[in-house]
């Protein structure tokens, strides 16, 4: 008999999961990777074309600019989300009064769907009726209204602010959970040794928080690299492709122009970049574990 009775019982219970995951996740994914090596267009027969897509990608100016903006977006947004999130988590962890009330308010941007985040900021940036121009001109900082989302100069900072806004809360709540695992005794002991707040942060908080921080950074990095909805609503990748993140590029190639194979190739390149980042992260983690 191939399986023991026990294993058979387990397989029966797991069957729906195994079936769904195989048919709608594992197989499509493998097929997606394969399609990245074909010239497939919807409705046409599929022909394997080796690395031709990648040679073409390498020469494709749009692809390079999309990846460049993708990297700029991912690094800046991740850095700001995590550092601002950490700042907020540290503030909330001081256990001042009203913290649970504050936390509820802070959850709100995180609960806002990505599309609505885009709509909110679109209305904020609206040149004539939006709050940003009104506040800046009331403060005397600008004299003419700025068209934030269609100006080459301002569009990138504008979308970055909107992108950072939605996920600070998520980083803060996760990091706060990490901070709460640090025992108060450590701080008390260090206080007796004469450590200041800054010493405590560097020598107690950061080292203990490191695993949580590392996890949050790599997850946030992956999410940001795959951003789609908010940019779709804010700029649709414009003006002139300046905010065309890799996912938007892949979507356009695949579902707007029908170059399915080419879109899958972009997806494959994204996987390679993310895996490299993840690999570096795991290597750093392992090295540290070996050292300690």
């Amino acid at each position: 008999m191939l399986y023991s009775k026990k294993e058979f019982g387990q397989l029966q219970l797991l069957l729906p999961v195994i079936l769904l995951v195989t048919v709608f996740s594992l197989v499509p994914l493998l097929r997606g990777i394969y399609l990245g090596f074909t010239d497939y267009r919807l409705g046409d027969p599929i022909t394997f074309n080796g690395i031709e897509n990648y040679i073409q990608l390498f020469k494709d100016e749009y692809f390079w600019s999309s990846f460049k903006i993708g990297m700029v977006w991912t690094f800046i947004v991740t850095a700001l989300q995590v550092s601002l999130g950490l700042g907020l988590a540290l503030l909330l962890n001081t256990k001042v009064r009203f913290v649970s009330f504050y936390t509820i308010l802070i959850l709100i941007p995180w609960a806002t769907p990505p599309i609505i985040r885009g709509i909110l900021w679109r209305q904020m940036y609206e040149p004539n009726t939006g709050a940003v121009n009104i506040l800046l001109s009331n403060a005397g900082l600008i004299s003419a209204s700025i068209n934030w989302l269609s100006s080459f100069e301002y569009v990138i900072p504008a979308v970055i602010v909107a992108g950072v806004w939605g996920e600070i809360s998520k980083a803060a709540i996760f990091l706060l959970a990490g901070l709460q695992t640090i025992s108060n005794d450590l701080y008390e002991a260090s206080k007796i040794d004469g450590a200041g707040i800054w010493d405590q942060f560097w020598h107690i908080t950061l080292p203990v928080l490191k695993p949580v921080l590392a996890a949050i950074i790599s997850l946030t990095f992956m999410w940001n690299f795959n951003t789609f909805g908010i940019i779709w609503v804010l700029t649709q990748g414009g003006p002139g492709g300046m905010t065309r993140l890799p996912m938007l590029a892949a979507y356009e190639e695949g579902f707007k122009y029908g170059y399915i194979g080419y879109a899958a190739a972009i997806g494959n390149v994204m996987v390679i970049i993310l895996s490299l980042m993840l690999f570096m992260y795991i290597r750093v983690q392992l090295r540290e574990r070996n050292e300690s």
Partner: protein, 278 residues
């Protein structure tokens, strides 16, 4: 000494409030716009708070069938996919914890690995597959996708929770003469309820907020989900649309915010009870 302490406390409150202003202002602005009469929005120098309260934009959203219908579509897809996910995930998580085998590592490993792949890679072949079986542009197809999409994370949460329930509880119940079904429904279910609640909310919110799959799959306007409908609405933004769009955004965000506040309660409750047991 005492003075510096209270000063630092004020500074902490002050900084938190600065964060909160930044985090809430865009939403407040749009909530305010949703209550402003159209001419006030376009008056050239609108104030933050509406000078005149008007419900016109809300009425136009509720009377305009499109947004209301898309909201109903999102609701149905969200509820059905959540039910299916929970029904599949609870017994599966139980099976994974109670019968250790190689299949577990394969499933847990896959849950982690699948996170690296951008959705576009899965979406392309899925689109082809769904088109082949006639499930593109269908709420059934979308529900199916959402089940598969939130299953890994829900399975992950449930797996962790089931693991935290001591085996001895079940064994004691069996010794007392309980049947397998009784063990599951009388012993396990009540303990798992917070986890089930949290993962159900998670699954519902994921479906309610999802945009990419819906954008690719749903082509007929009558089947659009709320997020797709709102994005379409933004694209056509002409003059008088700011107000209704603001009202629709507020309506679309409310369920999500309410569920989040609940979910937080549930999650902390689960975490605390888990910590006490451990």
């Amino acid at each position: 000494m005492k003075k510096t302490i209270s000063f630092s406390k004020i500074a902490i409150h002050g900084l938190i409030i600065v964060y909160i202003i930044f985090l809430l202002f865009p939403l407040l602005w749009v909530v305010a716009s949703s209550f402003k009469p159209t001419q006030e929005i376009y008056s050239g120098s609108p104030t933050i708070f509406p000078q005149q309260i008007s419900f016109d934009h809300y009425l136009s959203v509720i009377n305009g069938q499109q947004i209301f219908r898309s909201m109903w579509n999102s609701f149905v897809v969200g509820v059905v996919s959540t039910l299916i996910v929970v029904l599949i995930a609870v017994p599966s998580a139980y099976a994974m914890v109670r019968y250790q085998s190689k299949v577990n590592n394969a499933i847990l490993g896959w849950i982690l690995v699948s996170q690296i792949f951008p959705v576009i890679l899965v979406m392309i072949p899925l689109y082809v597959l769904l088109r082949y079986i006639g499930l593109t542009d269908s709420l059934t197809g979308l529900t199916l996708i959402y089940v598969v999409w939130s299953l890994p994370f829900v399975l992950w949460i449930m797996h962790g929770y089931v693991k935290s329930i001591p085996m001895e509880l079940e064994e004691a119940a069996v010794l007392d003469g309980a049947t397998r079904t009784q063990v599951i429904f009388k012993v396990l279910m009540p303990l798992l309820l917070p986890a089930i609640g949290a993962s159900a909310l998670f699954a519902f919110i994921s479906a309610w907020n999802e945009f990419f799959f819906a954008l690719v799959l749903m082509k007929s306007p009558a089947l659009a989900t709320l997020q797709v409908e709102l994005a379409r609405y933004t694209g056509m933004e002409g003059q008088a649309r700011t107000g209704p769009l603001a009202a629709a955004s507020v309506i679309a965000t409310l369920p999500s915010i309410v569920l989040f506040i609940f979910m937080r309660k549930w999650l902390t409750k689960g975490l605390v009870s888990g910590a006490l047991k451990g």
